[in-house]
Structure formats: structure tokens, C-alpha cells
Amino acid sequence: MIEAPFLLPLIIIVPLLLALGVVIRVTQRVAIKIAPWAALPALLAGLLLDDGKLQLPGMLINSYLLFDNTGRLFLLMSAMLWLATGLLHQAYSGALYAQQKVVFKLLAMAGCFLMPLAGDVLMFMAATTLAGYSLYGLLAQEKNRTTREAVNVMLVVLVVGDIVLFELLQLLGMHAVSVDFDAMRQAFVMTEQMNVQFGLLLFGLGAKMGLLGLHFWLIPVFITSHLALRPALISFIFSAGFIAWLRLFPLGEVYYPAIGALLQWGAWLMLGYALLLGVRQTHRRGVLAVILMTVTALWLSIVAALLIQPELWLSMSRSLVLAVIQMGLVMSALLIGQGLLKHKPTLKHSYALTVCLAIFLLAVAPVSLIRHFDSANSLTVTSLWIGAGIMMFLLWRTHFLLLASAEDSSYSKVLKTSHKGRSVNRYLFPGLVAVALVTAVPNLKFLSAITAFSFLLLFASMLLIAWLSRFYKPTEPSQLTSGFIVQQFKQGSSAIMEATQYLDIYSTRLRKGITKRFSPKFVLSHFSWYERSLNRWSVALIIMVLIGLLVSVQGLLNQ
């Protein structure tokens, strides 16, 4: 390992400089050619640089870069996913390559790399904003309306989440001696308003992680985003969501069983909802969005356990980070692997084996954490088993449905991929799964025989149930951005499903109603008189007098 923290800024500067190079006409051609490899410095830094800290004099409020074990793992994951994005992006260049797109991609990449390196909350917020807005820019480049509608919803959720998070940081900032993460965690521990602050944290980060109620952007964005951009999407969600939890919330230092219990039931509810949502998905990528919701539910369940039994954190912190990264890598692999499913003949043995391995690695990640919990955390342990089961069931079911109805338009319709794109993908898909396997080894080593046996039993059961359930086919989606569930429900669906469908319909109506009421046309038609009258100085004078009177009355009442 090389001890050279002064090299850390290069990880961010390289993509930023390349973005500048793409904008300047003289350097454009060269910069675009190098752009796919812009993640290499990050990958090399993750592999070669020693842990360290680099003060950035004058930047923000005494900001610094921190390179520790957690940051390294997330940086490595991001670097690999962005490298995959770059290579895929270049491979699909025929239809998609555009200067603006490359700039947004490089900016989003810089933001995603900065998140695991940020040593303080302001730097982290800057990184999240850069990554979030640039990723939005990247996704919004797609020409079709559905994609744009989907990413617009994503933007709204991200913005609201960021604002909530900003308010939380201000609340913590009042008690913290500085803005670095250590001080903020201390402020969290000392706070007297844990309920409020935990709520803000849950909302702020949940918006990015697909928390139940804030998840409605996930499915449309997953479905409509281009194959080349899917690893980037996962990199952003995992960096902005999970790293923030690990850095900001004092896991293992807070004992708050009341919130823990509430969160635990919330996680259970989310798991149930994810199962219903997953079964009703008509699109394979939509299923992966639901898998992400499941991952979030499992995360909440673990956080709940840590709030009830904080001492667990010491033994499980490293395993947890590895498991999260393992799931991120597998999800990205599955997302890009779907690009290979253009026709039935592509479902060859090698592909099927890789998919099997990927599903195994995804499901085994939460199960491998079970060894850290005891009987006091039976709810968490159960949720980890159930979560693993749901993930396996949904993914298997998707593949069985695909096999059963390759002619069905909703399942056989995939993006037109270039030959070059497919060939790159053919290596990237197993490559990412292989890296996930390496990540899984440290956790799998400690898997007890009984857990391993139980897992294999679950694996086989889910395979069987998924195979049996292939006869229930979801119908075509009515509209992608409509809300919680994206298709009409059939007669005979269960009452719970109907309820969620109604929720979907009413939330859509509510959204449309609000949009209409706040449309400039509507408001201007009603308030033009008001605008005219307020621009008169005499009206201003009258209002001034009224304010004066109000203040005087208030003063008199105080006396």
C-alpha cells in the first residue's frame, strides 16, 4: 500500500478535468476518447493507496478527504460500476453518444467518487448534489417522454430528500463542534430530539434508497434508463444512501429501542409491500427496483436491531459493509445482464449459470449476517431470511416467466443493442458477478453448516415456488409513472392488491390535482387582479399601516 493521501484529489479532479476537456472544442475529441477510463484513478487508488486523511485548506468549512476502510470499499464498488458504465456507454455510442451526455456522466462520476471520500457533511452534501443533479442530467438526455417523466419524478424526490437532509444537518450542526462526521455523530448521540432527527434522516436518505412511500420513482427510472447507465444509477443510490447512513448515524452508539421496534415493523411492512409489488411487475428491470426496496427494508431491519442492541455493531460493521457492496455489485450485474436477453437463444448455459450465481450471491448476502444476531433479534433474523427468500423468488420468477413467454411482448421486448455493446456486456456481466463473489468470501467463510443447509433449502424452495407461480402473469402496465403499482389489476386479485391499486389511483389523482392548481395558467387567471393591485404604492402604504397596527397591538398585548 502506498501512503500518499495527497493523491486522493486526483480521483475527483480527473473526471472533472475530462468534463472540461469535453466542453472545450480543441480537446473535445481526445477527452471523449479517454472519458470511459476516467474511473481508473479511483480504482487504482482503492487498490493501492493506504488509509489516510487530507486536509483541504480553505475549502468549504475546514473540509477534508477521509480514506478509510468503508470509504475504500465503496470507492472500489463505485469505480467498478463507473468503469462498466463508461465501457458500455462507449460500446453503445452509435445511438447515444453525445457531448452533453459525456459531461453529465463525468460530473456524476466525480460526485459518486467524492461521497465515500468526504470527511465532513458539507463536502458530502456537495458530492451528493453534484452526483444527483448530474445523474438526472444524464438520464434526462433520453429522448422519449416516459423516461423524462420518470426522471423528473426522481429529481423531485431527490430535491425534497436533500432539503430534508440539509435541515437535519443544520439541527445537528447546532450541537456539533465542527461539521465533520465524527462531530455530527456525537451531536446525534447527544440530541434530545432523537425522534425528529431520526425521522428526518430516514426521510432524507430514504428518498434515495427507495423507502416505502418514497419509492415511486424507482420503478419507472429502473425501467426506462438505458442499459449503459444502470450501473451508474446503482452507484449513486448505494453511495448517497448507504454511505450516508454509515457516516452520519452513530450506529452502535445509540440505544433507542422504541424507534428500533417501530423501524422493525416498518421494515416488515416494506418487505410485504415489495413482495406484492414484485409479483405484479411486468418488466424485468422493475423487479430489480423492487429488489432494491427489499435491500432497503433489510437495511432498516438491521438498523432497528442495532438501535435495540447497539453492542452488535462492533462485530458486524465490516461484514455489513461487505454485504451491502456485494448486493450492489450483483444488482448492477443483473441489470446489465438483462441486456443479453434479447432473444431466447441467448439463454445459454453460461448465462444461466451466471444468473444462478448472481441470485445466490444476492440472497446469501443478508443470510451471511445472521451469525451476528442472537435470539433477542429474532425479528431481524426472520426478516433477513424472508428478504433473501423474496429476492430469490422474484428473480427466479422473472426468469421463468421469460422462459415461458418469450413471445410475450412485455417480456421479449428489449433495447436494440449493438453487436459491440453485447460483446462488452458479455464480459462485464460475469465480471461483476465474479467481483461480488470475491466480496462475499469473507462473509461466507463464517457461514455455519446449519445456516448453509437452511439457505440451500430456501434456495430450492424459492426455485420451486417461482416455477409454480409462472402461471400467474401480470398484465401490461397502464402507465409507468403512475405511482405505487404500475399496471391494471386483474379481476380476482387479492383485496390487499386492490387496496394498493386504489392508493395508486388516488395518489395519481392527488398529484394531478396539485399540478393543475399550481399551474401558472390556472393561478395567473385567478390572481392577475391581485398582482396589479399589489404593484400600486398606495396599496403598499395601506398594508404597511396594517402591519404597523398589528405590531403595535402585539406590543401593547405584551406590555
Binding site: 480553505g58 452533453q100 423524462r148 435541515e167 399589489l534 398594508i543
Partner: protein
């Protein structure tokens, strides 16, 4: 000769003299006019840099000239005044370059640049004023110098906007005059003093002081566009883009906000104002204006009008920060004086570029303009994100300190205002960015002018790029010495911690 006693005066004269000469120049003397403008701006910048360095070292700069018996015309350089002077000087230089490009070939340029220089002279005078009477003189001069700029185009709309502006500002000036005379009658002094000069006054005068405070704040609130005195600002949008930039970022609105800061800090004193109970109503009005301005901005299709209502909202952050009456909120409020200036001038420059190059005046006409004018829209994007409070642009730092400061002062409700304002800012800025960058480009623009391979003239393009980079740097490099934040900290320290 003691230079320190004359430099504040030289700073004022450095724009006054070129302005007076420019009035006499024939229209066709473009070179001379440009030379005079830029020379004045550069000299002013050098003098201000000298003063900043001097004040940082503990030097004292003061010009005192007898005006009336017992009343002097005082120009004094302190941390607060230099903060505003530095802003107006730097932005004047940039705006001058922009105005030269913007008005190329248009009539009455000597008149325009003459008043332009007078306007900056008045602003610098307002900033350096060492007592309330000097402040009032330059404040009124600012009104008179700005009026010809607003009506510069000579159209009926421009004249109407000018009349509205005069009505509002003369009314405001009269209120300040009334308050100043009353205050002088009560105290016998008008000298700006750190932490104010009223804390020792007999408590029987407290009701009178409350009314004086209301008069002064109402008078200043006209230029600071506090609700309900903001009506002139959106109408003044008929003025050319450099004037809009000047109104919103450098001179008029800022003079009002700066005046509020002066009255609270150096006339009443923060602690005394809080004890008197006058800061809370001001905080309410500022908070209301923040939300109200944002709501109004949301429904404007005219780009400059939307930006004008955004100014109404954003300038009130300054008043809010000061009215919260705590050291951290003070930093947030004061630093926003500079941050808002940098961001808003960028936005107005960009709006001017769009109007001059493509004839775009409305938000609904901006579809795909990012592809046609990428650099202009990149600068606009930075300005807009800064206004929203997105890190690391300057607005983020202001909002951070305002929020933390409000919590520290026990005014938790301010957090909701900031949150609402940020959301509304997103609601009226992000659709613009979306239209510009992601919507398809139309077949033709309302009124397109070509500038060779460039998207627009260099003189129009460079100023917004420079100010956008400054807005970014002001947010990103806050820890550097002489950064706006560091300077605001010095001001807050002087107001709250120094004995």
C-alpha cells in the same frame, strides 16, 4: 499628508469624476468613454484593495468634511462598509464590461454611462457613510442616479416603471429623513458606532425609538424590496439588462439591505434592538417576504420578472439574518449580501444575453437554449443552483449559517422558512434548467443574432462566466483569507464578541 484621511474620498471620486466627464463626451467617442469607465473602475478597485489590506492590518481610514454645524460628511472604512464597497466595486467593473458590449451601437450611451458611474458613486458613498446623514445623502443620490437608467429606453412602459420607482423611493427617503431628524433631536448624534449609540438612552424614549426604527426600516425596506414595499422592483425590469444587474446585485436593492444592517448594528445595536423588541417583527416580515417573493416568482413567465421576484425573496435573507440577532445568523445574513449579488448578477447577465442574442424574454421560449448557448446557460445553471442553495455554490453557505444561526438563537421556525424557500426556489428555477437543457430546440428563435463561431459577443459572455465562477468559488473556498465568509465572520465578531 495623511493618505488614510483621503482614500475614502478618492474611492468615491474615482467613479464620480469619470462619470461627469462622460456626460460631456459626444456619442461617437466610444474609445474615450470605454477608457474612462474602465480606468475609473480599475482605480477604484486598487484603492479598495488598499483599504481592505489596511483595515485587515488595523489601519483607520476616515474622511471628515464639515457639512452643517455639528454634522459632518463622514466617509469611513470599516469591515462592514468595505464588505459592501468591495462587492460593488468588483461587480461595477464586470458590469461596465458587460454594459459596453450590451449597448454597442445603441443611442444615448454617454448619458447612460454617466448615470451608471454616478450610481456606483452613490452606492460606494452609502457603503462608506460614517453617519446617518451622509448615508441619507448618498442614498437619495442613488435614487436620482438610478431613475434615468430605468427610463433609459424611453418607452411608455419604461417611463411608467420609472415613475413607480420614484414614488416608492422618494416616499421611502422621506421616511428615513423623518426618522433621522427625530433621532438627531433625541440623541444629538447620528454617528455610526459599533453596537449602536442608543443603549444608554432614557427608557422613556423607548416608544419613540420604536417608531423611529419602524420609519427607518420602512424607508430602507423600499429599496430592499421588503413586502409590501417591493412593488417597484418587478416593474423596473423594463430597464436594460446591465441596469437590472445593477439594481439587483450591486446598487439599489443592496443599498436598502445594507442600510437595514447599518441601522440595526451601528445605530440601534443588535442587543438593544432585540431588547426593544423590534427585531422580531422585522424577522417575520423578512420571512414572509422570502416565501411571498418565491411564490410570486413561481408564476412568472417573463424571465426577468421571475428573477425580480426571486430578488424580492433572496434579499430578505439578509434582513432575516440580521433580525435573528445572533452571531451565526449574522454571518449568514451578511455574507448573503455578497453571495446573492454574485449569483443574481450572473442570472441577469445571462437573461440579457438570451434577450440580446436570441430575443428570448420568456421562460416558455427557452426550450433547448442550452444547446445553442451552452456557456451562457452553464453560468445560469450555477447561478440558479446557488439560489436554490445547492452545495457547493455560495447560496448554500448562506443558508447553512442562517439555519444554524436561527437554531442557536432559538428561532426554530426559521428552518421551516428556509426549507419552504429552498423548495420554491427549486420549483421556479429547475423548470428553466430543464427546458434549456433537455427540451428540443425550436426551429427558429424569436430574434436571432449571429456572432461568428461564438454563441454571443465576448463582452457579453465573459462577465456572466466570471461572476458564475466567483459564485462557485465563494461557496467552495470559504475558508480562504479575504473570502466573503471570513470577512462576514470578522463583522460578526466585531458586533458580538469584541469588548
Amino acid at each position: 499628508m495623511n493618505w488614510h484621511a483621503w482614500i475614502p474620498l478618492f474611492v468615491v471620486v474615482s467613479s464620480l469624476l469619470p462619470g461627469l466627464i462622460i456626460f460631456g463626451l459626444p456619442e461617437e467617442r466610444v474609445g474615450w468613454r470605454t477608457l474612462l469607465n474602465l480606468t475609473g473602475a480599475v482605480i477604484k478597485l486598487l484603492l479598495v484593495s488598499w483599504m481592505i489590506w489596511g483595515v485587515y492590518q488595523g489601519d483607520h481610514f476616515e474622511t471628515r468634511l464639515a457639512l452643517l454645524p455639528d454634522l459632518d460628511l463622514v466617509l469611513r472604512a470599516g469591515p462592514l462598509s468595505l464588505f459592501f464597497v468591495a462587492l460593488s466595486t468588483i461587480l461595477w467593473l464586470v458590469t461596465t464590461v458587460y454594459a459596453i458590449g450590451y449597448l454597442e451601437g445603441s443611442p444615448n450611451r454617454s448619458r447612460f454611462f454617466g448615470f451608471f458611474s454616478l450610481c456606483v458613486t452613490a452606492t460606494v458613498g452609502v457603503a462608506l457613510a460614517g453617519n446617518l446623514i451622509t448615508f441619507l445623502l448618498f442614498y437619495e443620490l442613488l435614487t436620482l442616479a438610478t431613475y434615468p437608467l430605468i427610463v433609459h429606453r424611453g418607452t411608455d412602459t419604461a417611463r411608467r416603471a420609472g415613475q413607480t420607482y420614484l414614488r416608492y423611493t422618494i416616499f421611502g427617503g422621506a421616511l428615513i429623513l423623518l426618522g433621522t431628524v427625530w433621532l438627531y433631536q433625541l440623541t444629538g448624534t447620528l454617528e455610526f458606532t459599533p453596537r449602536g449609540f442608543l443603549s444608554q438612552i432614557d427608557p422613556q424614549h423607548y416608544p419613540a425609538l420604536k417608531i423611529i426604527f419602524a420609519l427607518l426600516i420602512a424607508g430602507l425596506g423600499v429599496k430592499a424590496a421588503l413586502f409590501p414595499l417591493h412593488g417597484w422592483l418587478p416593474q423596473a425590469m423594463v430597464a436594460p439588462a446591465p441596469v437590472s444587474a445593477l439594481l439587483h446585485a450591486v446598487a439599489v436593492v443592496k443599498a436598502g439591505a445594507f442600510g437595514i444592517v447599518r441601522v440595526i448594528y451601528d445605530v440601534f445595536g443588535v442587543e438593544f434592538s432585540a431588547d426593544l423588541g423590534v427585531t422580531t417583527p422585522l424577522a417575520w416580515i423578512a420571512a414572509f417576504t422570502i416565501i411571498y417573493g418565491s411564490l410570486r416568482a413561481l408564476f412568472q413567465d417573463d424571465l426577468k420578472r421571475r428573477l425580480a421576484f426571486s430578488t424580492v425573496s433572496q434579499v430578505s435573507y439578509i434582513a432575516l439574518g440580521v433580525a435573528i440577532a445572533g452571531p451565526i445568523a449574522t454571518i449568514g445574513g451578511v455574507v448573503h449580501l455578497v453571495h446573492q449579488g454574485l449569483m443574481k448578477i450572473t442570472l441577469f447577465f445571462c437573461a440579457g444575453n438570451l434577450a440580446e442574442t436570441l430575443g428570448i424574454h420568456k421562460v416558455s421560449e427557452m426550450n433547448g437554449v442550452g444547446r445553442r448557448m451552452p456557456w451562457t446557460m452553464a453560468a445560469f445553471t450555477i447561478g440558479a443552483l446557488g439560489m436554490i442553495g445547492a452545495p457547493p455554490v455560495a447560496g448554500f453557505i448562506s443558508k447553512w449559517y442562517l439555519g444554524v444561526g436561527a437554531l442557536e438563537a432559538g428561532q426554530d421556525w426559521v428552518l421551516l422558512v428556509l426549507m419552504g424557500s429552498s423548495l420554491l426556489n427549486c420549483a421556479y428555477f429547475l423548470p428553466i434548467l430543464y427546458s434549456a437543457w433537455f427540451k428540443p430546440t425550436p426551429k427558429s428563435w424569436p430574434e436571432e443574432h449571429h456572432f461568428g463561431r461564438q454563441e454571443t459577443a465576448w463582452a457579453l459572455l465573459l462577465p456572466p462566466l466570471i461572476t458564475a465562477l466567483m459564485a462557485l468559488a465563494a461557496g467552495l473556498l470559504t475558508g480562504l483569507p479575504f473570502s466573503p465568509l471570513e470577512w462576514a465572520k470578522i463583522i460578526a465578531e466585531r458586533e458580538f464578541y469584541q469588548p
